[in-house]
């Protein structure tokens, strides 16, 4: 007897939609997964609006709530789904758009909208777990589509998906990528939660810890070592600036305590 397919929705709040394009980039592999589920909502492929009373088994949400309607939609989806999985950096950590939280956001708004800024809705950018209960995360900006495939293969076999606690360095070493830290570049790989397959260091770009830190990191040890490599002053600057890009700074300070 054929099992009832899982009803799945893929939704974007304000975002670049890069996580969903990463899924489309899987090509046939994505279409095969789509065949195994009942993809009832995915606006990149379908016109039809499904009825308001629709209940979902899994809702994937990408992006940041920046419009009032984004907040409403998120809460509404939460009420209508068994599981809510956040997808990508914005939804997981607040991501790049949360940079406004580290600056004068009113000034930033006035810079972009000199005349109409007072009417522009300009909230602090929050990770979705601060607004609704979430049931899982596929991190990275943008998501690693391979991790999505792994996630789906767990779910389709009724297993629960878990990200293994090991650093980005682990994946760098597997790929025999030359160590950027040793070259004197401010790479956060040793602290960062792996699973992305380390695309940044492979491309010569230091890890900016977009997936967030591992749960138990020895931050002080890392700081001591990295200061030896890149110098105290540069470290202070890099720490402050780089960790704002994906809104990770506050998460690091917490794990330091």
């Amino acid at each position: 007897m054929e099992q009832q397919k899982l009803k799945v929705a893929m939704v974007s709040l304000t975002s670049c939609e890069g996580c969903y394009f990463s899924l489309l980039d899987l090509g046939n592999e994505f279409l095969e997964i789509a065949d195994k589920i009942d993809l009832v909502k995915f606006r990149l492929l379908e016109e039809k609006e499904h009825s308001e009373i629709e209940k979902y088994d899994i809702v994937f949400v990408e992006g940041s709530p920046i419009l009032k309607s984004n907040f409403d939609e998120l809460i509404d989806l939460r009420l209508r789904t068994k599981k809510l999985i956040v997808l990508g950096g914005c939804a997981h950590t607040g991501g790049t758009y949360a940079m406004r939280n580290h600056t004068d956001k009113k000034k930033a708004c006035k810079y972009v909208y000199p005349k109409t800024n007072k009417k522009v809705f300009n909230p602090n950018i929050l990770e979705l777990s601060k607004i609704v209960k979430i049931d899982g995360v596929i991190p990275t900006c943008p998501i690693n589509p391979r991790e999505f495939v792994r996630f789906m293969s767990f779910v389709l076999n009724s297993l629960s998906f878990r990200i293994i606690e090991r650093p980005v360095c682990y994946e760098c070493q597997l790929a025999q990528t030359p160590c950027l830290l040793k070259m004197g570049l401010p790479c956060f790989g040793p602290m960062a939660l792996g699973g992305c397959d380390a695309p940044c260091p492979k491309a010569g770009m230091p890890c900016q810890i977009c997936r967030g830190p591992m749960k138990e990191v020895q931050w002080e040890n890392f700081e001591k070592k990295i200061k030896n490599i890149i110098g105290d002053e540069k470290w202070e600057k890099d720490f402050n600036e780089i960790l704002e890009i994906f809104n990770i700074k506050n998460k690091i300070i917490k794990s330091k305590e």
């Binding site: 974007s12 304000t14 975002s15 670049c16 939609e17 890069g18 996580c19 969903y20 394009f21 990463s22 489309l24 980039d25 090509g27 046939n28 279409l31 789509a34 606006r43 990149l44 492929l45 379908e46 016109e47 039809k48 609006e49 940041s64 709530p65 920046i66 419009l67 309607s69 984004n70 991501g95 790049t96 758009y97 940079m99 406004r100 600056t103 956001k105 000034k107 930033a108 708004c109 006035k110 810079y111 972009v112 909208y113 000199p114 109409t116 009417k119 522009v120 809705f121 300009n122 900006c141 943008p142 695309p199 940044c200 492979k202 491309a203 010569g204 770009m205 900016q208 600036e241 890009i245």
Partner: protein, 435 residues
Amino acid sequence: MPKKIIKINHLAKMEGHASFEGKILAGEISEAHIITEEGARLIEGTLVGRHYSEAPTITSRICGICPIVHHLTAVKALEKCFDVRVSSEVVMLRKILELAQVIHSHALHLFFLSLPDFLNYDDTKKMAGRYPNEAQMAIDIRKWATDLCLVIGGRITHPLTNMVGGFRKWPEEENLEKFLDGSGDILEMAQQIAQLFRDLDYPKFKNLGNFIALSDDTEYAIYDGEIKIWETKKNLVKKIFGKQMKGIEASKFVKKIKEIELRNELVKRVNYNGKPFFCGALARININKYLLNEEAAKFLETANIDFPTSNTFYNVLAQAVELIHCVEEIRNLLRELKKINWLDVKNASFKVKAGQGVAAIEAPRGTLYHYYETDKKGYIKNCNIITPTAQFLAKLEDDLSVFLSEFKNLSDIEREKKIKMMIRAFDPCISCATH
């Protein structure tokens, strides 16, 4: 009082969220509005005060379908700030990257987003099921292009390898060669897909307005060039295009276009000389068609359509022509790159300084402009990003209002279909527009 209000909520099958609202007055549409539904991300506002090196990383997050062009345009504008001259190899690799970006964006838009409108399908998956061979070709072309982005850019969405002065990591030679080997098959597929679009039934339509694109005397401009403008009003004498047209430097042109803030709308409308204009594949073909590569030019001949044209539905066909052109162009560049001894290739060294720079690159949807002003330590003092969709949104609204006045007697459902068809023919990217 408006007699009838037409509203289409949550337009699907396009990049980003938007709705449509039109008002019919006495049987004629007098107004058409695209209401964008993306929050204000304030990218420029948050970039002020940041280190220049962050700009390519952050601006690529504006858009998930064309992050490469944001990444490259930021890098190029910053190179102008610091007077950096990169090597010809760097330029060639960046050109391939941008061409591959255009291919994968066009392949997706043409087959999966726009074609269902012409063939009357709501659901792309159903349509793909009816045309399995063509669907597979579109997927294969896209895969070839995205793999190329991966090899040169380090990642498909949100690329990594480019930086001011050149590349963090050079692509492997043997990897590039694989793409050259595959290019013959991909070119054939691109031709077959293009034929499908040549044989579609395009609605008749014309409207006045400007068409604006980068243009260069020696090649079909994508990565560099001057701005050229084709005015449908004056230049009805069609011989005056291409080389004879006068170009304007991007840095001067951006001063001539106006960005206008609207109430209750986060995307500024852009005009040139007080008028809306079109940018994108059709503007490029209209202005630069005489520089298309051989196969693309041959294909265009068979289409039997008189370019330049003001019928913006032909933007879809223009993208199909570019699909062929870009595959050919990548093949040419890969052949050139084969001659290079990579051991001799170096990044440009430079000193960070106070400066200003404007750069323009042709994104899949039209010319993208980035402007930066830096202080002597390389921190951004001022910046501005003008995206293609923000530029053509006013033109889309203008065309929609003209187009709909021609369909007074259609049923609501049919009218709605036509509206969506035109909107998607423009291939808007609301994420880009609402950065």
